[in-house]
C-alpha cells in the first residue's frame, strides 16, 4: 500500500501541468455563460486535485492515464480540415471540423443546434458534470468543451437517411459533445465517426449523451478512426426508456491511446439493448473499452458481444460491469468477449463484473482468447490460399460475424470495408 495514494497529488505531471496551463490560456475564450464558467472552473479544480487517474483507481487499473498520457499537444488555431464522404452512402452529414461544429444541414423535423450555443446560453450546464469521483473524462471534457452538435429528434419521427456526426481533426486538442435525444417512438440510424486527417498528435475528448424516450428504435454506430499518435478519450452516456430498442455498435480502428467508456442506464421496462464491439488493435496502441451497464427496472434485456483482434505490440482491455438493481426482476443480460491474439507481443485483458441484487434474473458472461485455428489455416492453404491471405480471411470472418448481425446491407458493407482495409494495412 502506497501511503501517498491517500494524499492529494502534490506534484503535477507534464501532461497535467499542460492541461492546467492550457485552461488558463483559454479561460476568456471558452464559450459559456457564468454558470458554465463556474462549472468549468470546478471541474478543472477537481481534475487538478485528483490528478489524472492511475492504476490505483480501480476503474482505470488497466489504463494508467497518468503514466500513459506523457504530454498534451498544444492548441492549434486556424487549422483547416475538410469533411469526407460519409460511411454510408446518402447519409446526412453534420460535421465538427477541428472542434468547430457546422450545424448547417437540415433534417426534417430534427432540431440541430451547435453545442457552443447551448454553452453560451447556459442550457448545457446541467450536462457538464462528472458522473462520479473517478470520472476523468467527464472532468476533462467539461472543463474544455468548446462545441459539438445537439440534436432533438421529435416523437414518432422516422428518419430515413442515416445521420452521420463526423468529427475530423488534424492535430492539437479537440473537446466535443453530442447530446442527442430521440423522442418517443422515433426511429433513426446515427453514425458517430471520429477521424484524423494526419498522424500528428492530438488529444480528443468527446462525450455523447444519448437519450431514447419510450419506444424509440435507434441504431447508433461509433466508428473511431483516429490517427496513429492520437489520444481519444470518449464517453457514451445512454438512457433507455420503456420499450426502447438500441443497437449500439462500437468499432475501434485507430488511435494510440483510446478509452471508450460506455455508461448505460436501462431505466424503462421492456427496453432492449444490443451492444456490439469490434476492436482492431495494432502498432503500440492501447485501447480500453469500459462498460458500466445498469439494469435498473424489471423486464429488460441486453446482449453485449465484443470481438477483439490484437496485432504487433498492441494492448487492450475490456471491462464490463453489469449492475442489476434490487427490483429489476426478469433481467436478461448476456455478455461475451472474444479475442484473437495475432502476436506474442500483444495482450488483452478482460474483466467482467456482475453485480446482481435481484434474485430472478438471467445474467451471464464468457470470455475467450485464442490464436488462429491451425486446422483452419492448413485446410485453406491446402486449397491454394496463401498463408497471409488465409489468415486475413479468418480474422476478417471473426469480426465480420458481429457486423453482419446489423443485417442492413447499407450498413454491413461499408463497415466490412473499414475492417478489411484496416486488416490489409496491419496484418
Amino acid at each position: 500500500m502506497n501511503i501517498q495514494a491517500n494524499q492529494p497529488a502534490a506534484k503535477l505531471t507534464v501532461a497535467e501541468t499542460a492541461l492546467v496551463e492550457a485552461f488558463s490560456a483559454q479561460i476568456g475564450d471558452l464559450p459559456g455563460n457564468g454558470a458554465v464558467a463556474g462549472t468549468r472552473d470546478r471541474l478543472l479544480d477537481d481534475l487538478k486535485n485528483a490528478g489524472l487517474p492511475t492504476r490505483r483507481i480501480e476503474s482505470w487499473h488497466y489504463t494508467d492515464l497518468k503514466n500513459l498520457l506523457r504530454s498534451v499537444p498544444e492548441q492549434v488555431v486556424g487549422t483547416k480540415v475538410s469533411s469526407v464522404a460519409p460511411l454510408v452512402k446518402g447519409s446526412t452529414v453534420l460535421s465538427v471540423l477541428q472542434g468547430e461544429a457546422h450545424a448547417d444541414a437540415e433534417i426534417d423535423g430534427v432540431t440541430i443546434t451547435a453545442f457552443r450555443d447551448q454553452l453560451s446560453d447556459g442550457s448545457a450546464v446541467a450536462g457538464l458534470t462528472a458522473l462520479d469521483k473517478d470520472d476523468a473524462i467527464g472532468r476533462l471534457n467539461g472543463s474544455f468543451v468548446r462545441d459539438g452538435l445537439a440534436l432533438v429528434v421529435p416523437a414518432n419521427a422516422e428518419i430515413e437517411d442515416v445521420i452521420e456526426l463526423q468529427a475530423s481533426h488534424r492535430e492539437g486538442q479537440v473537446h466535443t459533445r453530442f447530446p442527442v435525444s430521440f423522442g418517443a417512438g422515433s426511429k433513426a440510424t446515427v453514425v458517430e465517426r471520429h477521424r484524423s486527417e494526419t498522424d500528428a498528435a492530438a488529444l480528443v475528448s468527446s462525450i455523447s449523451d444519448i437519450t431514447l424516450e419510450d419506444g424509440a428504435e435507434i441504431t447508433w454506430i461509433i466508428l473511431q478512426q483516429q490517427g496513429a499518435s492520437d489520444t481519444h478519450l470518449a464517453q457514451i452516456r445512454v438512457k433507455l426508456g420503456a420499450e426502447a430498442k438500441l443497437r449500439l455498435y462500437v468499432v475501434n480502428a485507430g488511435g494510440k491511446l483510446v478509452r471508450q467508456e460506455l455508461r448505460i442506464e436501462v431505466q424503462g421496462e421492456g427496453a432492449e439493448l444490443t451492444l456490439r464491439g469490434v476492436n482492431l488493435l495494432g502498432g503500440d496502441s492501447h485501447t480500453d473499452v469500459t462498460l458500466v451497464l445498469g439494469h435498473n427496472v424489471p423486464h429488460t434485456n441486453s446482449t453485449e458481444t465484443f470481438r477483439n483482434v490484437i496485432f504487433d505490440k498492441a494492448s487492450g482491455v475490456f471491462q464490463g460491469m453489469i449492475k442489476v438493481a434490487p427490483d429489476a426482476q426478469k433481467t436478461d443480460a448476456k455478455m461475451a468477449c472474444n479475442t484473437l491474439l495475432m502476436s506474442d507481443d500483444g495482450d488483452f485483458s478482460v474483466k467482467p463484473e456482475l453485480e446482481i441484487f435481484a434474485d430472478d434474473v438471467i445474467c451471464g458472461h464468457g470470455a475467450t482468447v485464442a490464436d488462429i485455428d491451425r486446422n483452419h489455416l492448413f485446410y485453406m492453404m491446402a486449397r491454394g490460399v496463401t498463408e497471409s491471405k488465409a489468415r486475413a480471411m479468418l480474422v476478417n470472418a471473426f469480426v465480420a460475424e458481429i457486423v453482419e448481425e446489423l443485417e442492413e446491407e447499407k450498413l454491413v458493407e461499408p463497415l466490412e470495408e473499414v475492417i478489411s482495409t484496416w486488416l490489409e494495412k496491419h496484418a
Binding site: 492448413f378 485446410y379 492453404m381 491446402a382 491454394g384 491471405k389 470472418a397
Partner: protein, 251 residues
C-alpha cells in the same frame, strides 16, 4: 509424375516416426490405391504430401514432375496441382463457401500467372460442378462446411476438386461415413475427372470404394512402408483374406 523415395517422417512435436522408408511412384493418368490397416500411416502420408507442418521429413525425398516439393508450403503445393480431399473436412465459421471457392480458384490462378476468373465465368463453373455432384446451391451460401452432413462435406470436397482442376488428387478415406448413394455420387465425380494427365491416389481402408473407382495399382502400407504392390486383384485378395496374410508374407 509423383515419386517418393526412401521417405522417413515423424511427428514434429514428439518425434514419433510414422513413415519408415516409403517408396512409391505414381504415373500420369494412374489411379493408385493405398490400403492398409489402422495406424499404418495412410493419413500421415496424405498430410505429408500436402505439406502439413506437424510432420517432419527426416530422410528421403518427394518429387513432383521432377521437382522436390519438400520445401514448399501447402498453398504452393496446391498451386502446383496437388489436392487433398480431407477425411474430416474442417468447418470454418464466418467464411462463406462461395467466397472461399472464388478466393481459392483465383489464388491458384494468380500463383500460376493466370488471369483471375470473371464473376460470371466463376458462377457458371460452380453451377455446373454443383449440378453434377447434386449439391444444393443453398448449401454454398452457408459458411464453409458448417452444419454440412457427413455426405455433404465429402461432396463439397469433390466439388472443390472439380473446380480447382488439380493434377494429383489425394482422396483420404473419402468413403468413410458415406452411404451407398453418396458413395456413388462421389465416385462418379472422381471418375469424371479421370484424364491421361491427372493422377489419383485413393487412400482407403476397405475395398468397397474401389468397386466404383477402379484402381490401376494397389499398394499395401504397413508400419510406414509399402510392403506389397499389385493391380486391382490385390484389393480383392485383401478383402477376402484381410491384411494378416500380406503382412506375414512381407515379414
Amino acid at each position: 509424375m509423383l515419386e517418393i523415395k526412401n521417405l522417413h517422417a515423424r511427428i514434429a512435436e514428439d518425434g514419433t516416426e510414422i513413415i519408415r522408408g516409403l517408396n512409391l511412384t505414381v504415373k500420369p493418368g494412374e489411379i493408385a490405391a493405398i490400403m492398409g490397416p489402422n495406424g499404418s500411416g495412410k493419413s500421415t502420408l496424405s498430410y505429408i504430401l500436402s505439406g502439413r507442418e506437424d510432420y517432419e521429413v527426416t530422410e528421403g525425398d518427394i518429387t513432383y514432375n521432377g521437382e522436390s516439393i519438400l520445401e514448399l508450403d501447402p498453398a504452393e503445393r496446391a498451386s502446383k496441382g496437388i489436392f487433398l480431399a480431407f477425411q474430416y473436412p474442417v468447418e470454418i465459421p464466418g467464411v462463406a463457401t462461395m467466397q472461399f471457392l472464388k478466393v481459392a480458384m483465383n489464388e491458384q490462378r494468380k500463383a500460376r500467372g493466370e488471369d483471375e476468373l470473371t464473376t460470371p465465368d466463376f458462377m457458371r463453373r460452380v453451377k455446373e460442378a454443383a449440378e453434377q455432384l447434386k449439391i444444393d446451391p443453398a448449401m454454398l451460401r452457408r459458411p464453409l462446411n458448417v452444419g454440412f452432413s457427413g455426405g455433404e462435406k465429402k461432396r463439397a470436397e469433390i466439388l472443390q476438386m472439380a473446380l480447382l482442376e488439380p493434377t494429383l488428387c489425394i482422396l483420404d478415406e473419402t468413403d468413410s461415413g458415406l452411404d451407398i448413394d453418396a458413395l456413388k455420387i462421389v465416385a462418379d465425380g472422381v471418375n469424371a475427372l479421370r484424364s491421361p494427365d491427372r493422377a489419383v491416389i485413393v487412400i482407403t481402408h476397405y475395398q468397397r470404394l474401389l468397386d466404383y473407382i477402379v484402381p490401376d495399382t494397389v499398394h499395401v502400407l504397413y508400419k510406414g512402408q509399402i510392403i506389397r504392390s499389385g493391380d486391382k486383384e490385390l484389393a480383392q485378395e485383401l478383402e477376402a483374406n484381410g491384411y494378416a496374410d500380406v503382412i506375414e508374407t512381407a515379414a
